[in-house]
């Protein structure tokens, strides 16, 4: 029994961890991304290639997921649509990461009234209903891929800022930060070269959560016609188009829905992994490896 207690260290799948195989969620995510990015290699039919003679074709060897109302290949549309969705997702997450980190780190570093103003600003931004905010922005700036990315990015920034602020405060409270100042290093230098690598695991975890939100946000906005505009296609657009034929061809709407579900699930699982202590250690190890290689 005593041994059992000692052996209770929470290492899931020890063999896989030892072999350095990433978790299933990460692998699946990679597969989805690769499929979408390499869509032209995976499917021969273009997403806009019309074949009016075969609308709503069932799944065949030629069209794995069948065709839509004007005979376009659904698999092709799903993968090409995924490209746009992932592009919006990546763009907005990157935007939120950069803006949020600067925002949060500034608040943490300045403290006092600057901190108050910045963080209350974040609270206010988070209190605005996302769809409503997007609606106003789309009305003001028009619906385009760029504006969709910007809107989503701005909506995700406050949560990144909050995370960045809390971990920066935690990290700058440690002696190595004030020692750095005592040895004459500037604050910006310290924050970017020493604090940032140390808080990276937390920021990456937040970015993964943000990515999941971005996909849902893109899908919702496109579904209500405020995001990606047809004839361009994304998972949200596909879902909306398929919704119209839910009784004729359930797989039409089901395929993008499953893709959204899977991607969001995987992103959340990856985020969960990243924020667990073991993963932070692994991430730190990885960061170290990267540093040594660079030298």
């Amino acid at each position: 029994m005593a041994e059992a207690v000692i052996a209770a260290a929470p290492v899931r799948h020890p063999r896989r961890a030892r072999l350095g195989i990433p978790p299933v969620s990460a692998l699946l995510l990679l597969l989805i991304v690769l499929l979408c990015v390499c869509a032209p290699l995976v499917v021969s039919a273009g997403p806009d290639q019309i074949d009016p003679t075969h609308p709503f074709a069932a799944a065949t060897g030629q069209h794995w997921l069948g065709t839509d109302e004007v005979g376009r290949d659904l698999l092709s549309r799903l993968l090409y649509g995924g490209r746009l969705t992932l592009m919006v997702c990546a763009g907005s997450v990157a935007l939120a990461f950069v803006l949020g980190t600067v925002w949060g780190a500034t608040a943490a570093d300045r403290g006092g009234w600057v901190d108050e103003i910045l963080m209350r600003g974040a609270d206010i931004t988070m209190a605005i209903p996302q769809i409503l905010f997007a609606l106003v922005c789309v009305a003001a700036f028009g619906a385009s891929l760029l504006s969709l990315t910007l809107i989503t990015g701005i909506l995700l920034t406050p949560s990144s800022a909050r995370m960045a602020r809390s971990v920066t405060i935690q990290e700058t409270g440690l002696d190595y930060y004030s020692a750095g100042i005592a040895y004459g290093a500037g604050k910006i230098r310290l924050l970017s070269t020493e604090v940032l690598p140390n808080i990276f695991p937390a920021l990456a975890s937040q970015a993964a959560i943000n990515a999941a939100s971005a996909i849902i946000l893109e899908a919702s906005l496109s579904f209500v016609g405020l995001g990606v505009q047809p004839p361009q296609t994304s998972w949200g657009v596909l879902l909306q188009q398929g919704y119209g034929y839910l009784y004729n061809d359930p797989s039409y709407a089901l395929a993008p829905a499953i893709m959204i579900l899977l991607t969001v699930l995987c992103l959340n699982l990856v985020a969960n992994r990243l924020s667990s202590p073991g993963a932070r250690r692994a991430a730190r190890r990885a960061a170290r490896g990267g540093r040594t290689v660079r030298k």
């Binding site: 190595y176 020692a179 005592a182 040895y183 004459g184 020493e194 730190r284 540093r291």
Partner: protein, 355 residues
């Protein structure tokens, strides 16, 4: 520069006032440090030792702020400097060692990178030159096979070794003043002695003046030339180390000394303590802050601000500092302190552990 002190002070702290919000926590602290001199600041927890050191180098953070005084390093006021100017002084001319070597190194940087960074912050040397200097420094502080260890991360070092690395970083640019904030508190006794020996040797070799902050009187007695005792945010006694340990002047110093226990102490008897509690910052009594715990206190102690003034004659042992200074109107003058030390200690401290 006054003509009174023969060697011009390297570091001259004048009437330093530090407060948290509106509450004063360091009150009118002054001390001078000649080149190569070592000052020990001792006192209980919360007496303002660390805040004094942090404010000297400008590392205090809101809500702590310096509300008055000057910190002159070679005549220039560090407190009046702009950020960019003080960045050039920190590390290059005045440096600091921290209490906890576990957190004072960046866990994600190799120690080599951390030492070379400290060098290259102040000196326009190439990466390779800085690396060579780092190897020398590491060897100097007694890290075995320094060249190989440059690529190691802090977690691969023991506490004592990390503190050695910290010392190497602190001395990387040959500062004139080194502030040591309880540098050995987190280390075990053996390592403590080794690290102190190292500091002692390096300070002597490089002619570094140092301020050692500690609550360990034994550490201070072995390392320092001068001792400043802090109580409730004030320096209550300042004297040459030899004089101080021979015959403390302030009743609080005497109590502190007789409350220290060494291996020769009889453990069957209750440990000597100073009765009562230190006053709370912000609600200090008028007059002497130690009054309520002092066996010699009378009504006169309760009125007016007591200034730090010289007490007694020139010091014994031919010390340069000569006279002791104390913030006390009933100092333990020669006849009193030479009279019966045992009795005096008994008056100052009481065994409060119930037998």
């Amino acid at each position: 520069m006054t003509a009174a002190s023969p060697p011009a002070p390297l570091l001259d702290v004048r009437d330093l006032e530090v407060s948290v919000g509106k509450t004063p926590v360091v009150r009118s602290v002054s001390f001078q440090l000649a080149p190569g001199e070592r000052l020990g600041i001792v006192g209980e927890s919360g007496s303002g030792k660390t805040l004094t050191a942090l404010s000297v180098i400008g590392l205090h953070r809101a809500p702590v702020r310096v509300s008055g005084g000057q910190v002159l390093l070679n005549g220039t006021d560090l407190l009046a400097m702009r950020r960019r100017e003080i960045d050039k002084v920190r590390g290059a001319r005045i440096s600091m060692i921290y209490q906890d070597p576990a957190t004072s190194l960046d866990p994600l940087m190799t120690i080599g990178a951390q030492i070379t960074e400290a060098i290259r912050l102040h000196e326009p040397v190439s990466r390779a030159q800085a690396r060579n200097r780092a190897v020398e420094l590491l060897g100097d502080v007694g890290v075995p096979s320094p060249r190989e260890r440059l690529g190691a991360y802090p977690h691969e070092f023991s506490g004592g070794m990390r503190q050695r690395v910290m010392i190497a970083i602190a001395l990387a640019c040959q500062p004139e003043v080194l502030l040591c904030d309880e540098p050995t508190t987190a280390l075990d006794v053996t390592t403590q002695a080794l690290v102190l020996d190292l500091l002692d040797r390096l300070c002597r070799e490089h002619g570094v003046a140092s301020v050692l902050i500690t609550h360990d009187l034994a550490v201070a007695s072995g390392f320092c030339d001068k001792i400043a005792v802090m109580y409730a945010g004030q320096v209550v006694e300042q004297a040459a180390a030899t004089d101080f340990f021979e015959r403390p002047v302030h009743p609080y110093s005497a109590a502190l000394l007789s409350a220290s226990v060494d291996l020769a102490a009889d453990i069957s008897r209750p440990l000597p303590t100073i009765a009562g509690q230190p006053p709370v910052a912000g609600s200090l009594p008028a007059g002497c802050a130690f009054r309520s715990r002092c066996p010699y206190a009378d009504e006169a102690c309760a009125t007016g601000e007591i200034e730090l003034h010289s007490v007694g004659g020139p010091g014994i042992g031919g010390s340069e500092v000569g006279v002791a200074e104390a913030r006390c109107i009933r100092p333990l003058t020669d006849n009193a302190s030479r009279g019966n030390r045992g009795q005096q200690a008994a008056r100052l401290t009481q065994g409060v552990i119930d037998g």
